[in-house]
C-alpha cells in the first residue's frame, strides 16, 4: 500500500478550496468543500454536524448524501467534544459507548472529528474510514490544516450569506422608493439604479449597470428636457462643487422633475447619488 503523503494532501486541500465561488449558494460551497475533504482523506463517511441545541444535532452536509438533514441526539457527543477542549478528536478505534453515534458508525473503524465552530454555529466535521487507519504526526497535521481551512470557509460562507441578505433587503427597499434613484460610483466603472430609474432612463433592467450605460441614458434624458441648456450650464456648476443640490427643476412636456444631486463620500464607497422626484402640481 503506498504511503500517504498527508502534508501534500493538506496543501492540495487548501489549494482546491482557496477559490470561493461567490455565485454559488452556501450549501453548494459547503458541499464542494466536503468533496475536497473526501478526495484528500479517502474517507467513507463525512458529516458536517451542527449542534442546534444542547441535545440535538443536525447533519448539514454529508457524503454519502443520504445523511443530509439527519437528526442526531447529541448530548453525549457534545460532552465528548467539550471534554477535548474543542481540539480535534482522533479515534483509531471507536469507543463502544458514550458518544451516541453507535448506529451511524456501525461500519466505521476510525474517526476524526474536527471542531468547526463559527461566530453563529457550533459543530464538527466527522470523518470516518471503513478500514483501520494509523494516525501518524503528518496525518494529524493534515487534519488540523483541514480543520482550520474549513472554519475559514464556514466563516466566509456565513459572511457571504449575511451580505447577500443585506443586499436583498436594501435592494427591495430601494426598488420600492417612488423616486428614481441613480448612483454612480467614483471608480468610473459601476453604478446602480432602482426600478423607477430604469423606467425613467428607458433601461431594461434595474440594479447594477455600467457607468457608461447610465451616463448615456442620463444624457438622453437631459436632451429631452425643455430647459436642457439651463440644465447643462447648471450641471457644470454643480459638478465643480461637492455640495448637495436640491429642487433643481428639469422640465419635460408632460411633467417636471425635481432633481437632487448628492455627493456620497464614505470610507468604503464614494460616488454621486441622483434622485428624480415628480413635482406635484400646485394643489395636487
Amino acid at each position: 500500500m503506498p504511503q500517504n503523503n498527508w502534508i501534500r494532501k493538506a496543501l492540495d486541500f487548501v489549494n482546491q478550496t482557496s477559490y470561493l465561488d461567490r455565485n454559488n449558494p452556501a450549501p453548494v460551497i459547503l458541499s464542494n468543500s466536503l468533496r475536497h475533504v473526501k478526495q484528500a482523506t479517502d474517507a467513507s463517511l463525512i458529516l458536517h454536524i451542527e449542534f442546534v441545541d444542547e441535545d440535538t444535532a443536525r447533519v448539514r452536509g454529508a457524503l454519502p448524501e443520504s445523511y443530509n438533514e439527519f437528526t442526531i441526539t447529541s448530548a453525549s457527543l457534545q460532552r465528548v467534544i467539550k471534554s477535548q477542549g474543542s481540539r480535534v478528536v482522533f479515534w483509531e478505534e471507536i469507543p463502544e459507548a458514550g458518544h451516541g453515534l453507535t448506529n451511524i458508525l456501525k461500519h466505521i473503524h476510525a474517526v476524526v472529528m474536527l471542531p468547526v465552530t463559527t461566530i453563529t454555529t457550533d459543530g464538527i466535521l466527522l470523518i470516518g474510514w471503513e478500514h483501520p487507519l494509523k494516525f501518524n504526526e503528518d496525518f494529524k497535521v493534515c487534519m488540523e490544516t483541514i480543520s482550520v481551512r474549513l472554519r475559514e470557509i464556514l466563516e466566509q460562507t456565513r459572511q457571504l450569506n449575511y451580505f447577500r441578505k443585506i443586499a436583498v433587503r436594501y435592494g427591495a427597499i430601494l426598488h420600492r422608493v417612488p423616486h428614481a434613484l441613480v448612483f454612480i460610483n467614483n471608480d468610473g466603472r459601476s453604478g446602480w439604479i432602482n426600478e423607477e430609474a430604469a423606467q425613467l432612463l428607458h433601461l431594461a433592467t434595474p440594479g447594477d449597470q455600467l457607468t457608461a450605460v447610465i451616463s448615456d441614458a442620463m444624457t438622453h434624458l437631459r436632451e429631452r428636457a425643455l430647459n436642457k441648456e439651463e440644465i447643462y450650464k447648471k450641471a457644470i456648476e454643480v459638478f465643480s462643487k461637492v455640495d448637495v443640490t436640491r429642487d433643481w427643476e428639469w422640465h419635460f412636456p408632460d411633467e417636471t422633475l425635481l432633481v437632487s444631486y448628492l455627493p456620497v463620500q464614505m470610507p468604503q464607497i464614494s460616488g454621486r447619488l441622483w434622485v428624480f422626484e415628480k413635482k406635484q402640481p400646485i394643489g395636487g
Binding site: V52, D55, Y67, E69, T71, I72, N103
Partner: protein, 266 residues
C-alpha cells in the same frame, strides 16, 4: 434522556412473536388512535405503540423547537425507539406524517424493516408547479392556515378537526380530534405543523425497497387521491388500496377496513 418516558412507549401483544408491528400516529393524535385496530394483531405480533413528543403522555419537556423544526427530529426519535427496543422484522404502520418519518428512518436502517404501511401519507403537501406535482395546498392556503393557527389556535383546531375528520354523521370523532389538538401546546403545534406542511420527501420514495401498502381514503382534506397514486408510482413494490371512508383518519373512522387491508398485506 429516558426514551421510554419521553415517548410513552408500550410493548404489548405476543412478545414471543418473530415480527413486530410499530404503530405511529400522525399529527395531533396519540397511540390510542389505533385502539380499534391493534387487537386484531395482538395474538400474532409484538405491538409497539408510542406517543410522538407533543402529544398524549409524551414528555413535553423533551420538545425542542430546533429538533422538531423538520420531521427529521421525529425520524431520529423513531430510530432511537427502534434501536433501544432492539426491534427488527418491523412491520411499520405510519399514519399521515408518521408514514414519512417511518420512510426516513427506513432509509438509514433498511435491514430492520420488513414491510411498510402508509396510511394517508403525503411526501409533500405543497403543490409544485415546476414538476406538475399536486400536493393539495398552495402557498396562500398554507399562509392562511398558519395565520389562523396563530390568531386563535383553539378555534382553528375545532374547524380543522371537522374538515379533516369528515364523517359528519359521527360528530364525536371530530370532537375528540379537536380535543386532542387542543391538548397540544400551541407553540409546539405551530412549529410541528410548519415542519409537516413544508416537508418535501418525494426523493426518498424510490429508496423504499420493501413491500409497501398505501391506504388512501376518500375526500381527505390533507391528502388528495392523486398523492396516493403518486406514492404508488414511485415505490416499486407498492400496493394502493382505497379505504371506503371519508377523512384523514381511517384507523378511527373505518378500523375494520384498515384491519382487513393490513391483514391481507402482511
Amino acid at each position: 434522556m429516558d426514551i421510554i418516558e419521553r415517548n410513552n412507549i408500550h410493548v404489548t401483544g405476543n412478545l414471543d412473536a418473530p415480527s413486530c408491528i410499530v404503530f405511529n400516529a400522525g399529527f395531533g393524535l396519540d397511540q390510542t388512535s389505533f385502539k380499534e385496530v391493534i387487537p386484531a394483531f395482538e395474538n400474532d405480533y409484538q405491538i409497539v405503540t408510542f406517543d410522538n413528543v407533543s402529544v398524549g403522555k409524551s414528555d413535553s419537556n423533551a420538545f425542542s423547537p430546533k429538533r422538531y423544526e423538520t420531521i427529521n427530529g421525529f425520524a431520529a426519535d423513531l430510530a432511537e425507539i427502534i434501536t433501544a427496543l432492539e426491534l427488527n422484522n418491523i412491520i411499520y404502520v405510519g399514519h399521515s406524517v408518521s408514514g414519512i418519518t417511518g420512510m426516513l428512518t427506513y432509509t438509514h436502517y433498511p435491514e430492520l424493516f420488513q414491510k411498510m404501511v402508509l396510511v394517508g401519507a403525503s411526501p409533500r403537501y405543497l403543490n409544485d408547479p415546476a414538476t406538475s406535482y399536486i400536493g393539495g395546498f398552495d402557498v396562500p392556503t398554507l399562509n392562511s392556515l398558519f395565520e389562523a393557527m396563530e390568531a386563535n389556535y383553539y378555534a382553528w383546531a375545532a374547524g380543522f378537526s371537522k374538515l379533516a375528520m369528515r364523517n359528519e354523521d359521527r360528530p364525536e370523532l371530530a370532537e375528540e380530534f379537536a380535543y386532542n389538538l387542543g391538548k397540544i401546546r400551541e407553540d409546539m403545534a405551530i412549529i410541528i405543523a410548519r415542519a409537516i406542511f413544508y416537508l418535501d420527501h418525494r426523493a426518498e420514495l424510490p429508496k423504499l425497497k420493501i413491500p409497501t401498502l398505501i391506504l388512501q381514503t376518500e375526500n381527505d382534506v390533507a391528502v388528495p387521491p392523486v398523492v396516493g397514486e403518486y406514492i404508488h408510482r414511485h415505490i416499486s413494490d407498492s400496493r394502493l388500496v382505497k379505504v371506503h371512508t371519508e377523512g384523514h383518519f381511517p384507523q378511527i373512522s373505518a378500523p375494520q377496513e384498515v384491519i382487513a387491508a393490513i391483514q391481507s398485506f402482511i
